[in-house]
C-alpha cells in the first residue's frame, strides 16, 4: 500500500548492494510485510526501528555468503581488522584512555561545529539579503574625544538617501519600543516586549510572512498594527482579529490590519507586533514624535535596499555631500556607513546602541572554534604518544607479518585499521553524548539549538570526515614508524625500546603541556576580569534597589504610591523621577561657564530624594534642599567627572547655559557613580537637575526580608493600576545582565581548561604507565641495588619537569599577548599580574608530579622478585 509511510531507505540500499539479487526481493518483501504490520500495532517510530535492526541482521548473510569467494586482499584486510580488534581487546586500559580522550575531543569539536553552523545561519531567511544594508554612523568629535560607531540614525536620513541616490531603491526605518507595550482588548490585557514601529516597506524588505490582512499595504495607514499569530491568538482567541481595535501605548487606539507568522528563530529582527511609522509623523498620526522624523535627533535605525549593481564603497563617500547639504552642523561629526544585513548578527559587536536586536559575536565563535581545536590537538597527541609507546608490544606481530611478505603499505594499513576502530567507537560515543547533552550545553552557553540539527547532512558528513581524517592523520605516523624497522631488529626479543621516536614523543608532550598551561592562564584571566566587573564599587549602593516603571497610568498617582510605600518599615527611601539607574538619561550639549563651545553632557533628571536613596556621596557643595523653589528651578548638581572634564578649580556657583538659552547654577558636586555597563562605558560628565515627572520609582529595601517587601510593593502598585501590570527590575541584576557575554566566555574557557587538564592527565597517566612497564626491570634492579623510592621518583620526574618548564616558556608569551588584547576592549580592565601565570604553572606541575609519583610508588611497592623473574 503506497499510502503507508516509508521505512528508512539507506539501509535497504546498502543491503541491495551486497546481497544476492535472487534472495533480495524475498528479503525486502518480508521486511516490508513486518514493517506494515508493526506500523499498525506499534506505531511508526518503533516500526522503523525494528525494520532497521532486522535489516542490519541480514547483513550477516552477506558476509557468510561472500567469505568463500573473497580475493586474497580482502582476506588480508579482514584479518587486519580482526587483529586490530583483538589487540584493542587485549589492552583495555589504553583502548579506554584513547577512546575517552578522542570521544571528548570529538564531542567538543562537534558541539563547536553545531554552534558555529547555527550562528552562521542567522539572517539567511530574507530572500533579497544581498541587497539589504543597515545604515550606521562613525561618530567623530575630536575636542570631546568621541570616536565610536553607532547604529543610531535620524528619521530624515533614509528618505533623503533614497531621494538623492538612484542606486538606493528603498528604505525602512525601525524603532524597537523600549519597554514591554501593553495591549488591551475588552478585559484582556497582554503585554509584549517586542514591538517595532516600522515603515510599510518593512514587510517587503524583510519578507514578513503575512497570514491575513485587510489590504495590500497593511502597515501604511496611521495607527495600524500587525500582530504575530500567537499574540493575536492570545488577545482575540479564535475571533478574527482583522479590523478590531485595541488599546496600545499612551492609551491610543490601534486598528489591527494584519496577522503575520513570527520571524524565524535565526533572525536578528524579533518582533511580535508592528506599528505603522505614519502613526508618529507630526500632522498625520495620533502619536506625533517630531524627534523620530527630523535630522537632529539620533535614535532610530535605518535599513536601505540597494540595486543589485550598486557599489557601497562608492556610495558611502557620497553621503558626506548629502550631510553637508541637509545637516551641516553635524557634517564634520557623522560619517554614514553601510553594513550588509547578513553581517549584522555576527559582525555588529563594535557598533554601539544596537537595541532590540538579537546579536551574536564572531569573536566568541573564533574562541569556541580555537578552543575546540586545541582540545582536539591534545587528544590527538595523546593518541599518537600512546601508540608509539606501545609499539614494543606489537613488534612480534609486525615481524611475523614482514616475514610472511607484507609490504610496508599493508603494515601501515594494519595500524591505521586499529586507529579507525578506536575513532569510530569514539565518534559513536560522542554523537550519543552530544545528542543527550544538547539541553545542558544550551543551558550553559545560552543558546537554543535543537537536537534535530545534529542529524543534518552537513553534521553527519562532518562526523565521517572526523573518523576518516583522524584515523589517517593520527594513525599515519605511528603506522609509519612501527612498520619501518628492519626485520632482523624487530624480531630480536630484546628490541623493547622506542629510542628512535623519543624526541618526537617528548616534543608532542611538551606541546600538550603548553596548550594546557595556555588555557589555564586564559581561564584565570577571564575569571578575574569578570569578578572585577561584578564587584567593582559603582559609587552607590546597588543592593536591594528596586526600580519600577511608572511611564503609565500609575504615574499620575506616583506621589500616592510613594507615600504608601514609605509606610512600610522595610522600605527606607523612595525616589520618583524621570531618571533611574538603568534608564531615563539622555545626552545633550550645554555651554559651561568660561567656555565658548558647547560640550556634551549626560542629563540625569531626579527628585529631591534620589541621591540619598542611592547613597551617592557628596564631594563639595550641598545636596538639593527638599521643597526649595530655587533648587527645583535653576540649581544643578554635577558629578566629579564633569568638573574634571571642564577643568574648573572651584565649581560651586559656576553657571551652565543650555541650548535653549536657559541658565542654571551649580550648587554641589557628587562623587562619580556608574550608570551603565563597566565593560563598555566610562563615567560620563553628568548634570543633574530636579524633574519629578514620574517615569521611574526607585525603592530602597533596607531589610533582608526581601520577598514579602517586594510583594508589598507590587500590591501597592496593583491597587493603583487598572490595566498595567507591574514592570520592575533590580539595579544589581540590571548591571549583571550587561556581562552576559563575559560570563559566556568565562563558562566556555573554564570548561575547556578543565577538559584540557583532564585529557593531559589522562595522556600522561597512560604514558607513564607504559614507561614504567618498559623500564620495569631497570627500575627493579636499581631498587634491589639500594635506590630509594625518592631516587627513582626524581629520576622519572626530571624528564617531565624539563618538559613542563619548556611548555611554560612557550605558553606564557602567547597567553600574555592574547589576554592583553582581550582586555583592551574593556573600559575597566584588570591589570594582568603574575598570579594567572604562577597558578597555571604550579597546577600543571602538581598534577603531573602526582600522577607520575602515584604510579611509581605503586610499582616501587610491588614484588620486586616477580618483576625481575619475568623474561
Amino acid at each position: 500500500m503506497s499510502s503507508y509511510p516509508k521505512p528508512p531507505r539507506w539501509i535497504i540500499n546498502c543491503l541491495e548492494r551486497f546481497c544476492d539479487p535472487y534472495l533480495f526481493e524475498g528479503i525486502q518483501g518480508d521486511l516490508l510485510e513486518i514493517f506494515e504490520r508493526n506500523i499498525d500495532s506499534k506505531g511508526l517510530r518503533l516500526a522503523q526501528l525494528i525494520y532497521l535492526f532486522q535489516a542490519i541482521g541480514f547483513l550477516r548473510i552477506i558476509f557468510k555468503n561472500r567469505e568463500t569467494e573473497n580475493s586474497n586482499m580482502r582476506t588480508i584486510w579482514i584479518n587486519y581488522l580482526l587483529t586490530a580488534y583483538r589487540s584493542l581487546r587485549r589492552h583495555k586500559l589504553y583502548f579506554g584512555i584513547n577512546l575517552v580522550g578522542l570521544a571528548i575531543a570529538i564531542t567538543c569539536a562537534l558541539y563547536a561545529l553545531i554552534f558555529i553552523l547555527d550562528e552562521v545561519g542567522y539572517n539567511q531567511h530574507v530572500e533579497n539579503k544581498e541587497n539589504i544594508f543597515r545604515l550606521y554612523k562613525h561618530h567623530i568629535n575630536i575636542p570631546e574625544n568621541t570616536n565610536l560607531l553607532t547604529y543610531e540614525t535620524s528619521g530624515m536620513m533614509g528618505p533623503t538617501i533614497v531621494e538623492e541616490y538612484p542606486e538606493v531603491l528603498n528604505f525602512t526605518r525601525l524603532l524597537p519600543w523600549w519597554d514591554p507595550m501593553l495591549f488591551s482588548y475588552g478585559d484582556t490585557h497582554i503585554s509584549s516586549p517586542e514591538v517595532y514601529i516600522a515603515d510599510s516597506s518593512f514587510i517587503d524588505m524583510f519578507d514578513v510572512n503575512i497570514i491575513s490582512s485587510s489590504s495590500s499595504e497593511p502597515l501604511q495607514a496611521p495607527s495600524s498594527i500587525l500582530l504575530s499569530e500567537s499574540l493575536a491568538q492570545s488577545i482575540f482567541g479564535d475571533d478574527d482579529p482583522i479590523g478590531k481595535i485595541i488599546i496600545g501605548v499612551n492609551d491610543l487606539n490601534f486598528t489591527v490590519t494584519g496577522v503575520f507568522a513570527p520571524p524565524p528563530r535565526q533572525s536578528s529582527l524579533q518582533y511580535e507586533a508592528l506599528i505603522s511609522w505614519t502613526t508618529t509623523v507630526p500632522g498625520t498620526g495620533q502619536m506625533p514624535q517630531d524627534w523620530m522624523n527630523n535630522w537632529r535627533a539620533q535614535g532610530i535605525f535605518t535599513f536601505l535596499e540597494l540595486s543589485p549593481n550598486a557599489n557601497t564603497a562608492l556610495l558611502e563617500p557620497k553621503f558626506e555631500d548629502m550631510m553637508k547639504l541637509h545637516f551641516e552642523e553635524r557634517a564634520e561629526n557623522y560619517f554614514l556607513k553601510l553594513q550588509p544585513f547578513t553581517d549584522m548578527y555576527l559582525h555588529g559587536a563594535n557598533i554601539t546602541r544596537n537595541r532590540g536586536m538579537k546579536t551574536g559575536s564572531i569573536q566568541f565563535l573564533y574562541l569556541l572554534g580555537f578552543s575546540a581545536l586545541l582540545i582536539f590537538l591534545i587528544a590527538c597527541v595523546n593518541y599518537i604518544n600512546i601508540s608509539l609507546s606501545r609499539s614494543a608490544q606489537s613488534q612480534a606481530e609486525v615481524g611475523v607479518r614482514q616475514v610472511m611478505g607484507s609490504t610496508r603499505r599493508q603494515l601501515s594499513g594494519r595500524f591505521i585499521a586499529e586507529t579507525f576502530i578506536t575513532t569510530s567507537a569514539a565518534a559513536v560515543v560522542s554523537l550519543a553524548s552530544v545528542y543527550f547533552l544538547i539541553p545542558i550545553f544550551n543551558e550553559i552557553i545560552g543558546k537554543d539549538i535543537e537536537r534535530s540539527t545534529l542529524l543534518s547532512p552537513l553534521i553527519l558528513m562532518g562526523i565521517l570526515f572526523f573518523i576518516f581524517g583522524i584515523s589517517f592523520f593520527i594513525g599515519l605516523y605511528p603506522a609509519y614508524s612501527l612498520s619501518g624497522k628492519p626485520i632482523s631488529l624487530v624480531l630480536k626479543s630484546s628490541a623493547g625500546t622506542v629510542k628512535g621516536t623519543d624526541w618526537f614523543r617528548r616534543s608532542l608532550l611538551t606541546f600538550q603541556y603548553a596548550i594546557s598551561i595556555f588555557l589555564i592562564i586564559c581561564t584565570i584571566a577571564v575569571i578575574s576580569q569578570t569578578q572585577y566587573l561584578l564587584n567593582k564599587p559603582l559609587g552607590f549602593d546597588q543592593e536591594q534597589m528596586m526600580v519600577i516603571d511608572l511611564n503609565n497610568e500609575v504615574g499620575e498617582k506616583a506621589q500616592v504610591l510613594k507615600a504608601n510605600l514609605l509606610t512600610h518599615p522595610n522600605i527606607s527611601s523612595v525616589s520618583v523621577g524621570r531618571s533611574a539607574i538603568g534608564g531615563g538619561s539622555y545626552s545633550t550639549r550645554v555651554s559651561p561657564e568660561g567656555h565658548e563651545e558647547d560640550m556634551s553632557a549626560r542629563i540625569f533628571r531626579i527628585d529631591f530624594d534620589f541621591l540619598q536613596t542611592y547613597g551617592i556621596q557628596l564631594r563639595t557643595g550641598r545636596f538639593f534642599r527638599t521643597g526649595s523653589k530655587a533648587d527645583s528651578t535653576n540649581s544643578i548638581m554635577v558629578n566629579r567627572a564633569y568638573v574634571d572634564f571642564v577643568g574648573w578649580d572651584d565649581p560651586i556657583g559656576k553657571k551652565i547655559t543650555y541650548a535653549s538659552g536657559y541658565t542654571s547654577t551649580i550648587i554641589g558636586v557628587t562623587e562619580n557613580f556608574h550608570i551603565s555597563s563597566l565593560a563598555s562605558f566610562d563615567i560620563e560628565p553628568m548634570i543633574m537637575y530636579i524633574n519629578t515627572t514620574p517615569m521611574f520609582a526607585s525603592v530602597k529595601i533596607a531589610s533582608s526580608d526581601l520577598i514579602p517587601t517586594i510583594q508589598y510593593v507590587i500590591d501597592q502598585y496593583d491597587q493603583l493600576a487598572t490595566r498595567t501590570p507591574v514592570n520592575y527590575y533590580f539595579v544589581d541584576e540590571w548591571f549583571q545582565s550587561h556581562y552576559e557575554k563575559e560570563e559566556q566566555t568565562l563558562k566556555l574557557a573554564t570548561i575547556y581548561a578543565i577538559i584540557s587538564i583532564l585529557l593531559c592527565g589522562l595522556g600522561l597517566y597512560g604514558l607513564t604507565a607504559l614507561i614504567l612497564i618498559q623500564r620495569k626491570k631497570e627500575l627493579s634492579i636499581r631498587k634491589v641495588l639500594g635506590a630509594s623510592l625518592t631516587n627513582i621518583l626524581s629520576l622519572l620526574n626530571r624528564e617531565f619537569l624539563i618538559m613542563i618548564v619548556l611548555a611554560f616558556l612557550v605558553a606564557v608569551p602567547l597567553a600574555y599577548w592574547l589576554i592583553t588584547d582581550w582586555l583592551e576592549q574593556f573600559v575597566y580592565g584588570i591589570e594582568l599580574g603574575l598570579t594567572p601565570f604562577a597558578v597555571a604553572g604550579l597546577t600543571t606541575l602538581l598534577i603531573s608530579l602526582s600522577i607520575v609519583g602515584l604510579l611509581t610508588w605503586k610499582m616501587g611497592n610491588s614484588n620486586l622478585a616477580k618483576n625481575l623473574s619475568v623474561e
Binding site: 500500500m1 534472495l23 526481493e25 524475498g26 528479503i27 525486502q28 518483501g29 518480508d30 521486511l31 516490508l32 510485510e33 513486518i34 506494515e36 532486522q54 541482521g57 541480514f58 550477516r60 548473510i61 557468510k64 555468503n65
Partner: protein, 109 residues
C-alpha cells in the same frame, strides 16, 4: 556422510515448510514457528537457514505473483525437494527407532 546431518533449527524450519505447503515464505514460517512452538526466531535467521538449506539441495524456491501488500514485492516461496523429504523421513525413522528401544523404566524416575 556429510549433508545428511541437519541441525535442530534446520529440521524445525524444514518441517514448517512442509506444514504450510506452497505458502512457505519467510514471514509465514516465522509466524508458524512462533504460534506452534512459542519460539521467536529473527527473520534474518529464517532467511539465512533457508538459504543454507537451499544450497544443500534440501529445499527449492520460486517467486510467487506480486501482491498489493509488501510494497509490491513477490513472495519467495520454499518447498522441500525430493532429497529434503527423504532426509526428514530418515531423521524421523532414526528417532523412532531410538524411542522404541528406550526401556520404559528410563522415564519413570
Amino acid at each position: 556422510m556429510k549433508g545428511t546431518n541437519i541441525g535442530e533449527l534446520e529440521e524445525l524450519i524444514m518441517l514448517t515448510v512442509a506444514l504450510i505447503y506452497d505458502e512457505a515464505y519467510g514471514v509465514a514460517i516465522q509466524n508458524e514457528i512462533k504460534s506452534r512452538c512459542n519460539r521467536s526466531i529473527s527473520i534474518s535467521t529464517v532467511h539465512a537457514t533457508l538459504a543454507r538449506l537451499e544450497k544443500k539441495g534440501l529445499v527449492e524456491s520460486r517467486y510467487d505473483g506480486a501482491t498489493s501488500s509488501r510494497g509490491g514485492r513477490r513472495k519467495h516461496i520454499f518447498r522441500l525437494t525430493k532429497s529434503g523429504q527423504e532426509l526428514l523421513l530418515l531423521v524421523k525413522q532414526q528417532r523412532d527407532s531410538i524411542w522404541d528401544a528406550i526401556p520404559g523404566i528410563a522415564f519413570e524416575s
